[in-house]
Amino acid sequence: MTDALASPVRPARLAAGARSRARSERSAGSAVVMVLYILFLLLPIYWLVNMSLKTNSEILGGFSLWPRNPTLRNYETILTDPSWYMGYVNSLIYVLMNTVISVTVALPAAYAFSRYSFLGDKHLFFWLLTNRMAPPAVFALPFFQLYSAVGLFDTHIAVALAHCLFNVPLAVWILEGFMRGVPREIDETAYIDGYSFPRFFVRIFMPLIASGIGVAAFFCFMFSWVELLLSRTLTSVDAKPIASTMTRTVSASGLDWGVLAAAGVLTILPGALVIWFVRNYIAKGFALGRV
């Protein structure tokens, strides 16, 4: 600024220069903030990856910021042992079942909430949401008894149904937000053109809210994938999820840090893949269609 004042620059241009400099300073500041924040997010994950590439003796023997002798042995242990890799298969099976069930039943309900008013609609909507608020800890024991009583204990469908408790309300909520954005004239035009309700819904309406369906499916996938308490309570052997395999191995085999870290890294991968596919919808998706 001092040399700018000394030189004979017209005041208007001076002001413009200062403003553009302030703007570029601000965007540089933003970049620094983002880099720091993302570093903070990635550092613990990096540490997990780092440990998964070390042998147990290297982990406990010394401290190093990167693996000295990178080894894939930990991953090999997991991918060759059925009691490990079946955990991933089980988790994926019930997560996919849950996603399909949740979105399928939520679609017509969300349509009803977004298009019509009917007796008790507001209370019903809030009651649905209350289930999203129910602490899984409250339901763990009753779920165990219920699914044991109907003979579904330790099956994939039991976990999938249990996760519906919080995923169906969420799916209804998200889809309702997206459907509200579709003008009602489209429905009316379709009926005048002679479409029946199911045909209209599948042929015309669902393509219109395709991104909303994707977002709802993403959220169902996410919350079912990360949940542990219910899936652990409802399974013992045949449908045991990976998350629960990990906790048991920690207590049983005297802390094999390398394998534990490798298992952790492998649980991050499906989520990372899913995010990559929905990256363009992610911002709007997180707002649940309500912006």
Binding site: L43, W47, A112, P135, L141, A162, L165, V226, T247, A287
Partner: protein, 289 residues
């Protein structure tokens, strides 16, 4: 106005049946336990409101509730401003915006016990980067022994885990603001703070209420992450409501008190969420006008 159509109930029916199966039956089981006592052998007898009375006078529950409220308050106070701040600094478009979105969403899709494991390892003094660094700086940090360290670790973990959710929601809100608003502000020579206060914050209001609602509910139900990291310790310092409840119901098998506890726990969440929900629907109605 939406047309009245009672037949819409048929569309809601599948959801109703499914959720009733997985919510009403278990909830009624809990209610059942809460008013009965047993001498074993699956013989139960009516016990009235004795368990509720006992839990309301038990220090254990009040302590857990106090810790829970403190925890939720701390993480909301950190995560909401931080999330908004991050959202304001995110690149608006282009390649880097996608990169930021993907990297920021990453912690949200890590299973909760793995989140716990990551931080358990990360904070360890012998093999973790964080613990090791703090020890090298001469700080006496040990989250398994020291109460404050345990709290700091858990709060830091939650900030790591969930700030992105608030940031992404706020970002979505920011993106929906038309460029004309900013141009008008520029003509008026509004300061950066005025732009935030009078344009961006009001426009983000709707999504922020969702963000706070989700974060409140989930932090109030938190179980897996602190359980993996500290197991509720040292002592009972990080035993939050869910951890205490699971200990009581599945560990000690005190079904009656645990059930009474559950119902009161659920009611607290319900009450707060109802308040949020009312605010939210009112905001929606204002926006629709």
């Amino acid at each position: 106005m939406k047309p009245v159509n009672q037949k819409a109930w048929f569309l809601v029916l599948p959801v109703l049946v499914l959720v009733a199966f997985s919510a009403v039956i278990p909830l009624m089981t809990v209610v059942n336990y809460s008013v009965q006592d047993t001498f074993g052998n699956n013989e139960f007898f009516w016990n009235g409101i004795y368990w509720f009375d006992e839990m309301l006078h038990s220090e254990r529950m009040w302590d857990a509730l106090g810790r829970q409220i403190l925890f939720s308050a701390i993480i909301l106070l950190i995560e909401v401003p931080l999330g908004i701040f991050i959202a304001l600094n995110m690149p608006k478009r282009g390649f880097w915006s996608s990169v930021c979105l993907v990297l920021m969403a990453l912690p949200l899709l890590i299973p909760w016990n793995v989140v716990g494991t990551i931080w358990q390892i990360f904070g360890r003094v012998d093999i973790g980067l964080l613990g090791r660094t703090l020890a090298a700086l001469g700080l006496d940090y040990n989250y398994t022994r020291d109460v404050v360290d345990a709290w700091v670790t858990i709060v830091l973990m939650d900030v790591w885990h969930w700030t992105s959710l608030i940031a992404l929601l706020a970002y979505a809100g920011l993106r929906s603001i038309p460029e004309a608003y900013y141009q008008a502000a520029k003509i008026d020579q509004a300061s950066r703070w005025a732009v935030f206060r009078f344009i961006e914050l009001p426009k983000m209001r709707g999504v922020l209420v969702i963000a706070i609602l989700l974060r409140f509910m989930d932090s109030f139900m938190i179980y897996t992450e602190p359980f993996v990291v500290t197991g509720g310790g040292p002592g009972n310092a990080t035993t939050f409501l869910s951890i205490d409840l699971v200990k009581m119901a599945l560990g000690q098998f005190d079904l009656g008190p645990a059930a009474a506890f559950s119902i009161m726990y659920f009611l607290v969440i319900l009450l707060v969420s109802w308040a949020f929900y009312t605010v939210m629907t009112n905001l929606d109605r204002e926006d629709a006008r």
